[in-house]
């Protein structure tokens, strides 16, 4: 019986210690000069997308009239709602010359995306219907990803929204 216990414990330890990188977190900065914000980082490619109000939105056009464009990727989930609510209440109105665009990459159609937008209480925001996930692919994005592109096409930020502090830091530095 003791052997069975020991065997189980050993199997468990093996499972817990085998190639599971979350077991030991790492503070090392793994970014390179080609990472977002790096000296040799790739510029943002232009894109054109339809909004949920059937408005054609082009990145280059938006950057002609604004200091920066912020993309936020939503799938209408609790965390997305927290982020969007926080952004609307604490950030958007403070940066009038920054264009904030929400990206819905799960709804599949413009009309469905608009329906989700309205039912979740965000009718007043501009939402891009990324029906083919082209914007997901372009920025390697997922739920909560927040991208900031300045008027020189530099991608200044591409990471999770978290508590919004990073986004504010980036926008303050514009």
């Amino acid at each position: 019986m003791r052997f069975i216990k020991l065997l189980f414990i050993l199997l468990t330890l093996f499972t817990l210690t085998g190639c599971l990188d979350d077991l030991t977190s790492d503070s090392k900065d793994k970014r390179s000069d080609t990472s977002t914000g790096g000296d040799n980082a790739a510029p943002a490619l232009d894109f054109t997308e339809l909004s949920t109000e059937n408005e054609t939105i082009q990145l280059s056009s938006e950057l002609l009239n604004h200091d920066a464009v912020v993309l936020y990727y939503t799938m209408w989930c609790p965390l997305c709602d927290s982020h969007m609510s926080h952004m609307r209440s604490n950030i958007i109105d403070n940066y009038s010359n920054v264009r904030f665009l929400m990206v819905d990459y799960v709804s599949g159609t413009v009309s469905q995306s608009r329906s989700s937008q309205v039912s979740n209480g965000y009718a007043s925001l501009t939402v891009l219907a990324d029906t083919d996930q082209s914007l997901v692919d372009q920025f390697n994005a997922t739920m909560g990803t927040t991208v900031v592109i300045d008027d020189q096409n530099n991608i200044l930020m591409n990471e999770d929204y978290k508590n919004g502090a990073r986004l504010i830091d980036v926008l303050e530095a514009l």
């Binding site: 979350d22 965390l79 709602d81 927290s82 990459y105 799960v106």
Partner: protein, 333 residues
């Protein structure tokens, strides 16, 4: 005569991320039979008083049906979406001394999410847990009649659970999108208290736990290197109350029906020491469990339906789900 009654555990999000789409969270849910005579609780198995070892296997089917937003308002998922998570929970409990026992639970998670515009099926190991329990009583406390004040003495278990981030989180190498997530990425220690009293045919159970996460470094999100920061989640508080009724069958096999109410909350997290209120959540749910136990208490078969209350104010910043659990345990004496 010893007998067990069902205990229901609240769903723990594998992560608040999985949420809506896969997770949650948050953590895996399980339903175990439990009583002064043995069983389980929200975070681990509990051996029968005179049991030496127990193997417990259960399957969770979690169906996501909307969520509570930051204001506590219930919102539906996008029309046409079908979001599910399936978990296989493998548990092993063993006695380490007369009044001490320990157990390990390792879940395996499948995320199965369909939106009108995207479909995803991913799987991986979930967050494992290791628990220790101390039994404050030397004899079984279940009684058929209350003849003295001593007969009212409940079974009290005091324990601790360490949750180990063996799942795929947003901060490891293995997840490239939120659909991949099967764990929260942080260690957590919970202090647990389980109080139970059986006066046949009724069993009343109260359980509470308080958990603290261990702060961690983050230098990547979904496989992309970012400026390093320190992350912590808020303290977790769980409380549950249940009432069970037991029928005795022929040859003293039993069937027990249990109804439970539970409340799970997590406080604000921190990023680089600065408050992160966006990870705070609350969930209130109900559960019904049916458990069949053989008279020798070796085999227990159980099924649970856990239902999050889809009403405004019953939760915050958390998905509302139904969890169907089927499980079986076998105890060695």
């Amino acid at each position: 005569m010893r007998k067990r009654s069902p205990w229901v555990k609240s769903a723990l999000p594998v992560s608040a991320l999985l949420l809506s789409s896969s997770a949650l969270l948050l953590p895996s849910s399980s339903a175990y039979a439990a009583s002064c005579c043995g069983g389980g609780n929200s975070s681990s198995l509990v051996l029968p008083k005179f049991g030496n070892q127990m193997i417990d296997v259960s399957v969770d089917i979690e169906d996501y049906k909307g969520y509570w937003n930051q204001d506590g308002d219930y919102k539906k998922d996008p029309q046409g979406s079908d979001l599910n998570q399936y978990r296989l929970n493998m548990g092993y409990a063993f006695r380490i001394a007369d009044n001490w026992q320990a157990n390990v639970i390792v879940p395996y998670v499948w995320n199965d999410n369909t939106y009108p515009g995207i479909t995803s099926k991913e799987n991986g190991l979930g967050d494992a847990s290791v628990s220790f329990w101390y039994e404050t009583f030397d004899q079984v406390t279940c009684v058929y009649q209350v003849n003295s004040i001593e007969d009212l003495r409940p079974a009290i278990y005091v324990g601790g659970t360490l949750t180990v981030p063996t799942g795929k989180s947003a901060y490891g190498d293995d997840a490239t999108s939120s659909f991949d997530i099967t764990g929260r990425g942080l260690y957590r220690f919970d202090a647990n208290l389980l109080i139970e009293k059986t006066v046949y045919p009724f069993t009343v159970t109260l359980q509470g736990s308080y958990g603290k996460y261990l702060e961690r470094d983050v230098n990547q999100e979904y496989g992309t290197a970012i400026e390093p920061y320190k992350k912590n989640l808020g303290d977790r508080k769980f409380i549950s109350a249940s009432l069970g009724y037991t029928y005795f069958l022929e040859e003293l096999d039993t069937v027990t029906f249990t109804a439970a109410l539970s409340d799970l909350r997590e406080d604000e997290g921190e990023i680089d020491g600065v408050s992160d209120p966006l990870t705070e959540f609350k969930k209130q749910s109900t559960a019904l469990t049916t458990a069949y136990a053989t008279s020798d208490l070796r085999w227990v078969f159980k099924g649970t339906w856990s239902h999050a209350l889809r009403e405004d104010g019953k939760g915050q910043n958390f998905p509302t789900t139904d969890i169907f659990t089927l499980g079986v345990s076998y105890a060695f004496y």
